[in-house]
Subunit: 421 residues, 4 copies
């Protein structure tokens, strides 16, 4: 057991931290000003992307890249601590071509795309030329189980025709978004419980019949890249746009999940670290009843508990990353459910305390806290509500208990007089 | 970073688990029967000790043993996973000569004893011939800061004379307890804040004037080895019984803490694992409203949350052990405060859920839950109340924030119209 | 709406408080010394009972007493604030003939006893000459649903024969306990879901075949009156000992519940008030880091939150008492489930904070805190685990929601562009 | 003690509920559409106001109205249950001329205005012709203690000149807002702890030098009436605009608080009832894993706990209203701090559960939940952070403990052997 980062990771962390400090953080105010003015801060982002690309801080995830692809080929354990650093500024990952959902989409394409699909979509994604979205969740279905997805993908001659409605799809409002990977039903005749009813399809964003119904405000915040509601009305694409085989959508969706959740969780850790730092700084500055807030024992408890919780969560996420590297994504399925719950709950809890230390200022958009708090809340359902993941963990635990029946008989000690009766 | 146990640790864990399963667990009912009858189960323990000694499952802690001493010389990272296993049965550590407070006392003697003290006290402790206690906390002092200790150790010719009252001293009721390491004031003239006012003294338990006023029930439970209230009335020992130098008591007490807390915390983890297993087993058996408790979503949430919390806590404790091994006990001071809080809170939380699944049976002494729950509560003050440790963590965090002043200025984004005013 | 106590209640509260202050509280140490010595403090109790009887502080509950019975005939709203005062010393209610389970048993007998049963059992109970127990819960059944009770009551000629095992039966260890009201199956042939399968039987404690297997320690505390495990082996009583009709046991058990829970909950409130007072007093005395604990903001938060929680709980209990008086016990069924959960959870929460302020002293039996804390925990299953009562409340809420379907349609505001599609 | 509403209150509740159901609720979608389009829904509101005025559902608060003023003259206990009903739709109170901050401002003017001030400001407020704001809190001061306010009100000839910056001022963006009641320093020479340093001034919104710097988004939500940042730069008003005497600002601010907080808290209760109803309805509709969410025990626990918490909170608020009616606002100061904390914490807790049952839909603006949740969070600092109010409650409790020193000595029972030593 070893809790130190490897030398390679330490070096990359230092390099990435410097990049954040000297290039990303100084651009933060400008980014927000642009967004407040209703514009995606494209120039700013492109300038930073070029710089990051040239420093080889690019495609830090995705270990299995081909020799010709740009990127670092890091394992999950190597990448996770970098995701934490990028997470400190919520728009930073795009600078390094490491933003969701493009990372997951690149992974999917890497796994399942045909050579033609690769060169049309994966190559431009890998160099950051285009953006993409992943169109799975639907307003009328409990989307945490992908089998509930109802959008239809119907074969019609050499085309597939897509009909349905998706929501909370991240990315479509990005000016460079060109591709939607759409999950839908191709096996209507199969039973509802089948894992072979769904397929994934590559749908160009400019396909006739595909419209962005709205960019859904999440707790009143409009993300500039969008968490959108998309409508598909007889959207027609050639059969060559199928990703992988027909009926393999569910399986592909499962494969996509693990690493993406580790990334998410580590970005959450980064955001929580920012919130904790802000809380401590504010507590040192602000006074009440003639003393600094930092001198009040309740504020100290909040700070300390935040530190304990963040450190524990980080270790759990890193352990999941380690399992994924060692034993594969499937083997880490329970771990991935576990970290999803832990990270989502962590963020609202930490940021809530930070806001309380900030007072009314914590409500304003002048600090990142109001965004982080509401986004933390959103994470408690996105990718499946916490309760679905807790259920996964519980069932694994119960299965273990069943397998070890009688294991703890030694712990029952009825008093001897009862035995004598 | 590596989350796997080393081969050596895995081998030892397997060996220790087998020993627990084949020797300790089968003796558990007998142990409780003896205790219920008011006897310390000495024969049972000695028989198991011989067996453990012969299998070299002995003195698993204490890396710095001399060549001639029996023991495994494990690092903290190696020892901690074994402490978890021993912790599953709360009286088991003595079988392996790994029980508190003897472990900590052996460590102290190892650090500071003279050759004569060693052969009189350390050698018999290392082979498990005698037991000892550590007499620090006092009823009238906030003992979490050792500087508040008031018992006096006064030089009188070639003797020291001890006067004072101690409580919650673990061990004096053990039939083999021969030694008390007593903390007291030797520097009355020094200011109250000085860390040089106190010394440690080796006091034989049979010294005239030393009496056990009572074995304090902890939440109505009388531990057979005792959490005792001791009275020292003009207890006289030769000056040669001073441990280390005069005025070094505070420093020695500090040094003693770290590893002992890691052991404690890992035993806690072991107890929590037992409680979680019992909860899952009971949930699979017991029915309400026509379904097994394991099918109720609230019970599932409890099981899953317990798993998440235990796994996180274990990792935090292991990380502290790792820091201690790498950088020394002093460097891990904050970590040790952190794990102390996490483990103590964990135990009441996990066991509380398990009891709720057991219903009224959880209140009886027929399962370990009532003991584990009340003992968990006790841990929230023993070795200093949680709040004292949270304060340590908070102050470290605030010091970091002070050192990094301005670090997060980039995160403040007042709206542009305010700037233009 | 009026939140003031009536003049009558205020007068009784003053009288009762004085009695507690001048007679009960001064006897508290003696009571505990006797119990610690293994004796029920009978003389002490009898002396106080005579005094209370002579001051007419007797049978404060039980509004429907006959003219010839001693007692105050108070409504639930009048009695509840007195139960709070008596609850401050946990053994005090017996002094006023107001202790569980005798109060509930008197109520049952008052409702259903024949004249002969009345004169044999109710009259001596009403004057405090004898004590009784209520033998319902069983080790092998989820007793929160009385229909799960398995003890058999079999007709054999002019007798009933009882066989079974009961546990957590309060009272049998009291030296004056003469009667057990036993719940058992008389309708074996009826379906398991029937509410007519059970009956109640009056069983003298000295009946051959009835033994006290043990006084179960609750979290290691042996109550002097006992929470006992009783064994019934062919216990034979005349058919005239049936309470009410055959098959009415379930119904009688339901009727018994409501007022008893209000009493219980108000005693809990009284205990919580004591714990809060002790916490505040200790915080004013004890110092850490050079300041009184009362000056630490976290301790202040605990004190204030305890006040808010106690005051809210008291109001909810009083409202339930009010409903019971106005609309009958059956109409207040949901309220009674609600207060049971609130009070049980309250006690562990408040006392936990108080213990933390007391430090290690809170673990000892020297203060009432350790008893109150563990007893609070027990209350979370006794009379049915919290979860069973939450389920009752939830189902009532869901039934309301069903009945009001569409009530909140006005609150859904999909954005207009979605409507236009 | 009586927990039933009086006949008068029951009649008014029925009338108000009908008005809500037939007039306000059907307008809810239109209200939101207007606001989404960036317009204050003035026509809609005015139409409803006329209707409410004509039904005498007008000025339901403010018991001390003059004979010639329109309104109901209800006590706090009578008004509070109506505030709960109005609170169900967050913009409804204005319809009945019962919205903050106008209610509080009318109360202030009623208490302290000169005849000229009354006819200029109070009369048009009482008939709902104009709106007003209350300009107290400031970005650079811990405004929970009004003595920290820094805005200056300087005498210059026959005028006062105001300079300063205010924020989170509710109301200035309302198209009819004509008046700001401004709190500022008139006694610069007095010590910072003096309660006589501040005065209140009536400042017309169209005064030169007074600008709305921004309508601050609260958790990204822009309230249509505004929570604004106001800048005062040499704003000049005649001395006749002083409200009450110079130096009485602090006192007036205190007087204003109590009833307003009761209103606020009861509106919160109303909002929580809506959230609970929505949660129950959704749980009955939505399925997961083949069962309705209403059948899952964790969802049932959330529903039941919400019911318990809301009912307790309501009672506490009503009790505070009762105390205010009986003993005056000052006597209820602690109660008012208590309910402020309870209500603010309640709202986030209840709505959080409701959102979890709604899944991703709970994040959208399509239901009221996202607004209610973020607004609940805001309430945890507005009118002073929870911690300030907890401190008030704690200090009252500690003062009681001091006054009763020794009261609980009877509860300490050291074991007898310790006494004999």
């Amino acid at each position: 057991m070893d809790f130190d980062y490897s030398d390679k990771v330490q070096r990359l962390r230092a390099q990435l931290s410097d990049f954040m400090r000297f290039h990303v953080e100084p651009a933060n105010v400008a980014w927000h000003r642009e967004v407040a003015a209703g514009r995606y801060p494209q120039d700013l982002i492109e300038r930073l992307k070029s710089k990051a690309f040239s420093e080889d801080l690019w495609n830090l995830f995705l270990p299995g890249l081909r020799a010709e692809d740009p990127g670092q080929r890091l394992s999950n354990v190597e990448y996770a601590p970098l995701a934490e650093i990028m997470g400190r500024v919520h728009w930073a990952p795009e600078v390094f071509n490491c933003n969701a959902p493009d990372t997951g989409n690149m992974e999917l394409l890497h796994l399942a795309a045909t050579p033609a699909q690769r060169s049309q979509w994966l190559d431009p994604l890998l160099i950051g030329e285009i953006r993409s979205c992943f169109a799975m969740s639907e307003p009328d279905a409990a989307s945490s189980d992908a089998r509930n997805i109802r959008t239809t993908i119907t074969r019609d001659g050499d085309d597939y025709v897509v009909n349905g409605r998706k929501w909370f799809i991240t990315g479509p409002a990005h000016p460079n978004c060109r591709l939607a990977i759409v999950m839908g039903v191709t096996g209507e005749h199969l039973p509802a419980t089948s894992t072979e009813r769904h397929s994934m399809l590559l749908v160009p964003m400019n396909s006739p019949g595909l419209t962005i119904a709205r960019n859904i405000p999440v707790m009143h915040y409009h993300a500039p890249e969008g968490h959108c509601e998309l409508v598909f009305r007889n959207v027609r694409v050639p059969v060559a746009n199928l990703l992988g085989e027909e009926g393999k959508g569910f399986r592909l969706a499962q494969d996509r999940l693990g690493p993406g959740r580790v990334h998410h969780c580590m970005r959450t850790i980064g955001q929580c670290e920012v919130a904790l730092e802000l809380m401590a700084e504010r507590a040192l500055e602000r006074e009440a009843f003639g003393r600094h807030l930092a001198d009040f024992a309740n504020v100290q408890d909040w700070i300390a508990e935040s530190r304990l919780e963040i450190d524990q969560a980080r270790l759990l996420v890193m352990q999941a990353a380690h399992r994924m590297d060692r034993a594969g994504n499937a083997a880490a399925r329970i771990d991935v459910s576990a970290i999803k719950v832990v990270a989502a709950r962590l963020q609202t809890r930490i940021v809530d305390r930070a806001m309380q230390v900030f007072g009314a200022m914590g409500l304003t958009p002048d600090t990142p806290l109001s965004y982080l708090w509401t986004w933390g809340r959103a994470m408690r359902f996105l990718d499946g509500p916490d309760e679905v993941h807790l259920r996964v963990v519980a069932r694994a635990e119960l299965a273990k208990a069943k397998a070890q029946a009688g294991r703890n008989a030694c712990h029952f000690v009825p008093p001897s007089q009862l035995l004598q009766e």
